[in-house]
């Protein structure tokens, strides 16, 4: 035994995400192999934005927004905290290097499970769980919210006006979230599409 | 007028023209020996026992609205003495004893119904905590039974034993616990006190205290100044507001608790049942409505009403243990203002101001306390020393650390 072993990765929604109902009202896919990290600004350091800009070309927007550049996205989760997401490996070390003393960084790549949702009935489905106004006049691509969905804490952000949303839930709650999603979307039809 | 089936029949023959007011709606006099502020259950019971047990009848109860308009008129009517801490068991058991003889005592049918109170448990840890509580009760001579799942199922087959998120493992049963017709308690005490000479003054709001040389001398009210030698405060949710008029800060926050009643139904739920893994408790009134409630709304309020999330949370709890109520309808919900203390237990004590006495901090459990609270408060006012059953309910217990925290939540009122 030893280095030869490769630990197999198991994604949180692997078992629980299933089609429901008839029709194509909502399409869902799991975002696998995502690297994630919590980034919290440390006291006295306000130059996070500048450092992100110079290291990644990412322009950090104030408020509850998703800011993105290339493969890296920063979803604001609180006044001084973000969930950073990227598909490239080594996110945490890269962030540590770029942000140094300015921020505390904690790897959360396994901490959250992330779904991408789209389809004509995605809003009609989400309003059955999420208490935030997702109407295009109130919530647009680039907007993010930390909130709850059917008793579960979630972070939601919008990617595209189509609309496309992504939702992060704590990993251990993936089954409960999937259950809620299936029940709520069934009347419109829920289709699981291949992960991306 | 003494009430009985005979007086009823006699009056029926007379077309019910002979009835007289249940209590006198008195005009306030200028001075009394004793004033009780608050015409709720506790205030009226205090006046009753002052008159009946201590012969003190130059007494007035001052109520800012109509008597019974406060929490005594809006609670879920549950009476029990299934506490864990000896100090609480002793007091609430004394109250149970008074309930058991109350109707004959004050000649009014308050429908004391000892139909049993069952607290469900859903885990081993909870079972052991209930065992600890049940044993403490038994040590105090109070009835308590720890039921297992099968015993509960035989008793209440309609509970959710099949697909519950937190399966029912059993329950702690106090058979002598039950319900009492809440309004009738206020009316019965008012009648008993009034018959013995106590003035019941409605629409009389206390707005300030007259303090002379560190001693109370009277109150300012919406109906003028009233003098008195001794004054007892029994205003439940308004305790802080009234105490503040005397310059006192209390270890109390006022929170709103909602309760609900369903449409009237044929008998369905025989006992009082409480959920152990969520916020829900229920019984059925003699009129047929399911009377139920759950958690506090969680924020401080003087508004006597709550918000939708708690309504939903309570109903969710109800469906979790008895999915048969799904199609029954909630008819009305309301709120009451709870005087939540820092340890969840009450206060019956003198205050730093001479002649001013405080009965407060009943949280959501003071209805069951009504007879004993009245009894003990009357004793304290009349004799200037605590009645033994209430001797732990002191104001200084917080400073001493001798807190009575049944739930172990610490100094956070909305968690008690």
């Amino acid at each position: 035994m030893s280095e030869a072993i490769a630990l197999e990765l198991k994604s949180p929604f692997e078992a629980s995400l299933k089609d429901a109902g008839a029709g194509d009202g909502v399409q869902v896919s799991e975002r696998r192999n995502l690297q994630m990290a919590t980034v919290i600004a440390r006291a006295g350091n306000s130059d996070i934005a500048a450092r992100l800009k110079s290291a990644f070309g990412l322009a950090l927007l104030p408020g509850p927004k998703r800011s993105a550049a290339n493969d890296l996205a920063f979803v604001a989760t609180g006044p001084r905290s973000w969930l950073a997401l990227s598909e490239a490996s080594g996110l945490t070390p890269k962030l540590r290097e770029a942000l140094g003393e300015a921020a505390a960084i904690s790897d959360q790549s396994s901490g959250y499970a992330v779904l991408r949702l789209t389809g004509p009935k995605v809003r009609a489905t989400l309003e059955k769980g999420i208490g935030v106004d997702l109407h295009p006049r109130a919530f647009q691509p680039g907007d993010a919210a930390s909130t709850s969905c059917a008793h579960l804490g979630v972070i939601i952000w919008q990617i595209d006006a189509a609309p496309i949303y992504e939702i992060a839930v704590f990993r251990s709650l993936a089954d409960s979230f999937a259950h809620w999603l299936q029940e709520s979307a069934a009347e419109f039809g829920l289709r699981v599409v291949p992960p991306r | 007028m003494r009430y009985s089936i005979f007086s009823l029949a006699r009056n029926a023959l007379g077309g019910h023209k002979g009835w007289t007011p249940t209590w006198r709606d008195a005009e306030p006099k200028q001075a009394y020996d004793i004033l009780i502020i608050g015409g709720g259950g506790h205030g009226l019971a205090t006046a009753y026992y002052l008159a009946k047990e201590h012969g003190l009848t130059n007494v007035a109860v001052l109520e800012k609205s109509w008597i019974g308009s406060g929490n005594v008129g809006r609670n879920t009517t549950i009476v029990r003495s299934n506490y864990m801490l000896p100090e609480n068991i002793r007091f609430y058991e004394w109250s149970m004893k008074l309930w058991e003889g109350l109707e004959q005592d004050f000649n009014y049918n308050a429908m004391v119904s000892q139909r049993g109170v069952l607290n469900l448990y859903h885990s081993d840890g909870q079972r052991d905590a209930f065992a600890r509580r049940g044993n403490a009760m038994r040590l105090s001579g109070v009835d308590a039974e720890l039921l297992d799942r099968e015993q509960v199922r035989r008793m209440l087959p309609f509970l959710n034993f099949d697909d519950a998120r937190f399966p029912i493992q059993g329950g702690l049963l106090q058979r002598r616990g039950g319900t009492v017709r809440h309004d009738a308690v206020a009316w019965g005490y008012a009648r008993g006190a009034s018959d013995r000479g106590v003035d019941i003054v409605q629409n009389c709001e206390v707005k300030g205290f007259v303090v002379e040389n560190g001693r109370v001398a009277g109150v300012e009210t919406s109906r003028g100044k009233i003098h008195a030698k001794k004054i007892g405060i029994a205003v439940a949710g308004n305790s802080s507001r009234v105490a503040a008029m005397a310059g006192l800060r209390l270890p109390i926050e006022s929170h709103v608790l909602q309760a609900f009643v369903s449409e009237g139904l044929k008998p369905l739920i025989p006992n009082v049942i409480t959920f152990g893994a969520g916020h829900f408790y229920i019984s059925q009134s003699d009129k047929g409505g399911l009377v139920f409630g759950g958690d506090l709304d969680g924020y401080k309020s003087y508004a006597q009403r709550g918000n939708l999330p708690v309504v939903q949370d309570v109903c969710e709890g109800g469906m979790a243990i008895m999915p048969m109520i799904g199609r029954l309808r909630l008819l009305r919900g309301w709120g009451g203002i709870m005087d939540m203390t820092m340890d969840g237990s009450p206060i019956i004590d003198k205050t730093p101001i001479e002649g001013l006495y405080l009965n407060a901090g009943w949280c959501y459990g003071g209805f069951k306390a009504t007879p004993a609270a009245g009894w003990c408060f009357a004793h304290l006012i009349a004799r200037d020393e605590p009645f033994p059953a209430a001797s732990a309910f002191r104001l200084d217990r917080f400073a001493r650390g001798a807190i009575l925290d049944e739930k172990g939540q610490g100094a956070q009122p909305n968690l008690h």
């Binding site: 709850s148 | 800060r249 270890p251 003087y302």
Partner: protein, 86 residues
């Protein structure tokens, strides 16, 4: 009830928990015991506008100082307890 979180915007109060009055701050380490007792146990509990602490537990996890009227539940203002804007 809707709480205006300075970061998240207006949110339903069910996303928050409150632990009561924010009128007094934690006395320093060398304060007399009586002052700490006051801080932990005694409350103004006013009927009217009240300064209180709310935690956006199901949101941005900020502690807020909220000025709220206990008679009407109307909220005058909410700011981050730690100070500063966002």
């Amino acid at each position: 009830m809707r709480i205006p979180c300075p970061f998240c915007g207006l949110r339903d109060s069910s996303e928050f928990v409150t632990i009561g009055e924010a009128s007094m701050s934690r006395p320093p380490a060398d304060a007399p015991e009586a002052q700490i007792f006051d801080y932990v146990y005694l409350r103004d509990n006013p009927a009217g506008v009240n300064q209180e602490l709310w935690y956006h537990a199901q949101g941005c996890r900020s502690w807020l100082k909220v000025a709220r009227d206990t008679r009407t539940h109307e909220i005058e203002s909410a700011v981050l307890a730690r100070g500063g804007a966002q």
